[in-house]
Structure formats: C-alpha cells, structure tokens
C-alpha cells in the first residue's frame, strides 16, 4: 500500500520545528529516519495529517563529549555509533549494541532520537538508555526538560513526550575503565527484532561485585533495569551462583506477553538465559577478573 496524503513540512531549525509542532503537533508526526514511521504509513497503520520532517535540522546531528560521557543530537544516525572513535573510547557498549539494530541500510537512516522516541520495547537503544540511565532532553513551547528513561518510557511505543515537544538530545555516561560490559540479544536472524535482549555493566574488586547494572528488553512493556538482578550481584563473588541468582530475579520481575514470535513463558525463560549470558561475558571483561 501507499501512505495516505499528508501536509509536509521540512523545517531547518529547532525553533522552526517547535513552531510547526505548536500548530500541527496534535495531528502531526515528526519524521526523523523514518525506519519505523514510514512502514506504518505505508500500511496506513499511521495516517498523520501533517508530517514535520526534521532531516534538514542539521543542528541536531552531532556527537559531542559531555562530562566523561557522550551527547548525541537527536538526528544522529545509528551508524555513527559504530564508526565514531569517540563513542568506542568512552562507551564501547554503544557500538556493540548499534550493530544489532536492523541492517546497515537501516542504520544509515535511523536516528538515535527517533529510536528513543518510538519506544519499541525491544529496541536496542531503548535498552542502552535504560541500562545506563541516559538523560533525555526534550524541548517544547514552555522550554526544555530532561527526563530519565523510567520517566520517559511509559509503556509499549508510548513516551512522556507531549505532542508539541521535540526530543533534542540524548546523553549517555561513559563506562568506567575497569567495568566489564555485555550485550546479548536473542533474535531469529541477524537484524530481526529481538525477542529478548539483556545488557550488563559490572565493576568488581578482588572478584567481588562492587556495582552492577542489569537491564532487560522484551520482558516488559518497556526496556528497564532489573533491581532484583542487581541486588543479587552486589557484594557477591562474581561467579555461577551469583549469576544464577540474578537470572532468577530478572525472570521473577519479567512480565512478558505472548505474541506471534514467542509465548510469555518462553520469553521469561529467555530473560533468565540472556541475563546469565550477559553477566558471564561482562564478568569476563572486568580487568583482573
């Protein structure tokens, strides 16, 4: 099928975009990379009356150092995560997770802001944002605000973004030099949507876990950290027992739904398997572990 008619705007600046959102945002949509929105429009599952195309808002296309971490303009394309040396140096988890997003043709167009704003529960960047407590900046008619992932992601494909607001920047912290990290994704084929994905960042002293971050996608309506898994790790020696307890806790917290691709029971089981695998790999990457 082909998209239904819409009114098309191609602003050149954030200010112009915000003006258009104030006028047309209620029945309109922001078009960024279009890798999720255009399929929905082609199938007429989405029929926005107005389309505000931000692809020419070049002020939103950047990767900058920020407080030891990284600030990404919302329009920055996924492939920049794979190719920018600053990203690899400060947060090597991001290039690894970016390579799991669709295929290269998708990563050439898809944007960081678009992926976060779309809030697919199994999207890799939503998982990374949840895992690392990324800061999400949005601008609207009443100025700007910064949200944490647990405030921003509300449920399936739903965020705290108001119709007149624009996501402008996402900031990820750098990983500590002595941290071990891992991303593990379960998909039918390379590039498919994940059925379940898990990610972890561990710091340890003499083999005992000092800090733990564990996040899961596919176990709930949004990607989210697993407090139970993290609590099962901190203060424990990094090894089979702690990983099994953390995987158990993540499974207990998961509340997945059944769909075409997997039953709820199967997904919950896979949450346990992939959390354990992420912890094993993260632990193996802790220096002197």
């Amino acid at each position: 099928m082909k998209p239904a008619p819409f009114e098309y705007f191609a602003p050149r600046s954030v200010a112009e975009t915000l003006d258009l959102l104030a006028r047309y945002g209620e029945d309109g949509k922001i078009l960024a990379g279009g890798q999720s929105l255009v399929p929905l429009m082609n199938f007429r599952l989405a029929r926005p009356a107005s389309l505000i195309d931000v692809n020419r808002v070049s002020e939103l296309d950047y990767v900058r150092p920020s407080d030891g971490g990284l600030a990404f303009g919302a329009l920055t394309r996924h492939y920049r995560l794979e190719s920018d040396p600053l990203v690899a140096e400060r947060c090597p988890l991001l290039p690894a997770i970016a390579r799991l997003i669709g295929h290269v043709q998708i990563r050439h167009r898809g944007t960081i802001g678009g992926s976060i704003a779309h809030a697919d529960p199994v999207a890799e960047l939503c998982l990374a944002a949840a895992l690392l407590d990324a800061e999400i900046d949005v601008q609207g008619p009443n100025g700007s605000r910064t949200l944490q992932p647990d405030e921003f992601f509300l449920t399936y494909l739903t965020t705290a973004l108001e119709p007149t607001e624009l996501l402008t920047e996402v900031r990820f912290p750098g990983l500590p030099a002595d941290a071990g990290w891992s991303v593990q994704e379960f998909a039918r084929r390379h590039g498919d949507f994940a059925i379940v994905a898990a990610a972890a960042v561990l710091e340890a002293e003499n083999g005992v876990c000092r800090t733990a971050r564990v996040a899961v996608a596919g176990g709930a309506p949004t990607a989210a950290r697993s407090p139970g898994a993290e609590a099962a790790l901190v203060g424990q020696p990094l090894g089979t027992d702690a990983f099994a307890a953390a995987a158990e806790a993540a499974m207990a917290e998961a509340d997945p739904e059944s769909d075409l691709h997997a039953s709820a029971d199967y997904r919950r089981k896979m949450v346990g398997v992939f959390v354990r695998r992420a912890l094993e790999e993260a632990a193996s990457r802790v220096p002197n572990s």
């Binding site: 099928m1 082909k2 998209p3 239904a4 008619p5 819409f6 009114e7 098309y8 191609a10 279009g34 890798q35 255009v38 399929p39 429009m41 082609n42 199938f43 389309l51 195309d53 692809n55 492939y79 669709g102 295929h103 290269v104 043709q105 998708i106 050439h108 167009r109 084929r189 390379h190 590039g191």
Partner: protein
C-alpha cells in the same frame, strides 16, 4: 490531493527534475516519474531490501523515504553500475555464478554488495553473509550469491576497485 512539489536530484551522474505529492515514495518516484525501473519495490516496509539504492554514498531503503526528502541528493541505482554494454564486475560475477534466478532481489543485492566491497577487500564468507542479511532472496538459497560476491571481490582487487 496535496499539492505537488518539485524534486531535483542527481541519479547516476545525470540531473533530473520532477514534481510529485509529498507522500510519493522515493522508489516509486524513481520508477514512475524518472522511468528508472531497475530499482524494484518489494515489501514496502524495509525488510526485503529489493529497493536498496545509494543516497549520498550510503545504502538506503528507497521504500522508506519520500521523494521530497531526496531533493538535492545524489543517488546511485542499479542502472549506474554497467558502463554501456560492459557489465560491472559485480554484475558479471552474479551472471557467472548464477547468483540470481527470478532476479527480483538482484538490484538491491547488487547495490548492497557495491557498498560492501568498497569497504571490504577480502571478506570472509561470514562477513559476506552478514552484509547480505538485509536483502532477501526467495530463489537461490544464497549459496551462489555468496560465490558471486567472492568472485567480484577477487576481480575488484585485481583491477584496483570499482
């Protein structure tokens, strides 16, 4: 009907101008307005890869873009590969290795491989298969496509690239 907008772009080194509604997909603009029917349109949701073209040097799905978004862009489509009657080494390799049967997926395959072999000189079979993962073929089982990419990689190294 929404008002038509002017789209000016460069395809395979030639300038084109057309006018279309904003909702017109880039792939349909190429095929219907510019009569460049080499690019195929398959799934219309970015999964099959048949519509893959290069925009400003990067592969994109032309079914996931509107033509108006490509205003001012430089595109390369499958029509830009051959030099007159002489096939591009990638096309020749697909011919030699029987890397196609019905040919529907071939334009997208060729453009994906064109970009891939610009970056990878001696790719392993695993790397080739990963590079092809975004292009579906229902006929070949991929074995001969992988062989074609291997042959093309060899030819391009011998002849010094594209």
């Amino acid at each position: 009907m929404a008002e038509k907008q002017t789209v000016r772009l460069r395809v395979n080194g030639q300038d084109y101008e057309g006018a279309c509604e904003p909702r017109k997909l880039l792939v349909d603009f190429l095929r219907e307005d510019l009569r460049l029917t080499g690019t195929h349109v398959g799934c219309e949701h970015g999964v099959c890869g048949a519509c893959t073209i290069l925009m400003d040097g990067l592969t994109v799905r032309s079914c996931l873009m509107f033509a108006v978004q490509a205003d001012g862009a430089e595109l390369m489509t499958v029509e830009g590969l051959a030099q007159g009657d002489e096939l591009h080494p990638i096309q020749q390799a697909f011919w030699d290795q029987h890397g196609l049967q019905c040919g529907f997926c071939t334009p997208g395959m060729l453009m994906t491989v064109y970009e891939f072999l610009n970056q990878a000189e001696k790719p392993s079979e695993e790397e080739i298969r990963e590079a092809l993962a975004g292009n579906l073929c229902r006929c070949t089982g991929y074995v001969n496509i992988v062989k074609a990419v291997q042959q093309a990689a060899g030819t391009l190294v011998e002849t010094g690239g594209h």
